[in-house]
Symmetry: C2
Subunit: 319 residues, 2 copies
Amino acid sequence: MPYSQLIEKMLEGDKRACARLITAVENDSDEAERIMGDIYRYTGNAHIIGITGPPGAGKSTLTDKIVKELIREGKKAGVIAVDPTSPYSGGSILGDRIRMQDLALNPNVFIRSMGTRGYLGGLSKHTKNALKVLDAGGYDYIIIETVGVGQSEVDIVKIADTVLMVMVPGLGDDIQSIKAGIMEIGDIFAINKSDLPGADRTALEVNMMLDLNPDTDRRPPVLMVTAVKNEGIVELVNQIKEHFIYLKESGRFEVRRKNNLKMELVELVEEELRKIVISHAEDENKLNDEVIEIYNKNKNVYEVRDELIRGMGTHLHRG
Amino acid sequence: MPYSQLIEKMLEGDKRACARLITAVENDSDEAERIMGDIYRYTGNAHIIGITGPPGAGKSTLTDKIVKELIREGKKAGVIAVDPTSPYSGGSILGDRIRMQDLALNPNVFIRSMGTRGYLGGLSKHTKNALKVLDAGGYDYIIIETVGVGQSEVDIVKIADTVLMVMVPGLGDDIQSIKAGIMEIGDIFAINKSDLPGADRTALEVNMMLDLNPDTDRRPPVLMVTAVKNEGIVELVNQIKEHFIYLKESGRFEVRRKNNLKMELVELVEEELRKIVISHAEDENKLNDEVIEIYNKNKNVYEVRDELIRGMGTHLHRG
């Protein structure tokens, strides 16, 4: 089926067409780019929610409950579960995902697991493309759930409208060991497994951390939840919806989206330039010859870079 | 002191000059680049050893023992300990480093802790620069030790001549949960804390994994060590030295170094182009205007990218 038909079907709400388009844009083909260019005008409506936090915080269970609450009034929700490429799993990721299988059968819910594929920075371009397909497909809420192993948290901020930071008592991590920069990206904090001892203390530590860096516009709420018992979920979802209203009314939504677009544009230009560099240098087998010159200490790598840049200018101007 | 004098002192073996040069190249200044260009001709002699593995494997203690063994015959060793930017420390990183304080006082040993600074990909350019300074400074062995949280392991392969993968029994990670790609990067495997139960089983699992992907040229050795008791260290260090001889005699050393240079060159060119893109677009305030056009759905991001690339061609050609 030509992709234009797939796009039509997706716009009509066809889940399978959605899935096939996401598969189609999971690579770097020209077709992927045409699809992304065509669907762009339908994007921009979804509320993108990033869910992150340390391993063991129970994020998958919490996501499952949040989605069930979000769709109660006939809304559609997509979930992109990002599996990290960390080789040290620290538990079965597959086991976590099994909890969401009943949701996957719901016609208003779309669930996709994606690896980061070693993409520098944690959240791959393919994940972002998948997100836009779901946005264009009319999903009201799109949840990006990651395991939180470093660069992913920061990337979620760039993508998400609302970042939910899931903490859990007694993991052995002092709040102090969590860098202040990570606390700053949370729009809402949820202490999960709050029926465990130490929950109040964890909430206190989070609040103290927030006191250190007060955002004069909005104080992120710190909520107690127990996902497996379905406790605190309604209030949490209300706060998520409230945050979106806040973003729109304060103008921050537009500012964030424009910043995202800017970064995406720069990344795309860099990627295109990278391709030009590689093809320019290797067409003439120049790159390998230059590397030999550097290896033999006849030139250094900065001199060669400058030569290549000057050469590229001529190349771009001609082509 | 002008950097040319610092370089002279470093070449004479002055540890403090070394430290000051590393500090000087930890940023993106023009001076940093001049220093790197000037010292390049003195690099290429060190044996670079990457040490990685899951948290809790006892890498810091093992590194300490390895260094003590390496310097026994009057050699010099540098250690760059890379602290990840993961916000979830999983234990005190500072505590680990304290074990190496007696070594830091040894005139033939240089120890430096560096953060990854969120650099995409795990091992920052600044880490690589520091490594080259130590290489130019005459250090026979340079150890890069990371915590192993994903992308770092792969980056170590690109940098190191010899990759030592440190495993430990009973962490709860099945070998199966460790992706095959990570097993492929180990040149030597050490089962540390081998006095614990399960050590033989872990060694067996590693060997089974290696059986699946036999390298017809060389089978990585799997060694049992107990770092805190100083057991197995001499054999481990012998294997490390043997591997370096193997790399030189087989020609793989030259191939790897040339590949590293090629990647470095491409990265430098990309970085320079990124700067040109940003300055080109923002000088004319063009980028922000284009972003507004995209936000208002008058253009899509691919169209704007193509316009910018064409515009850059003109700019590079003129400049």
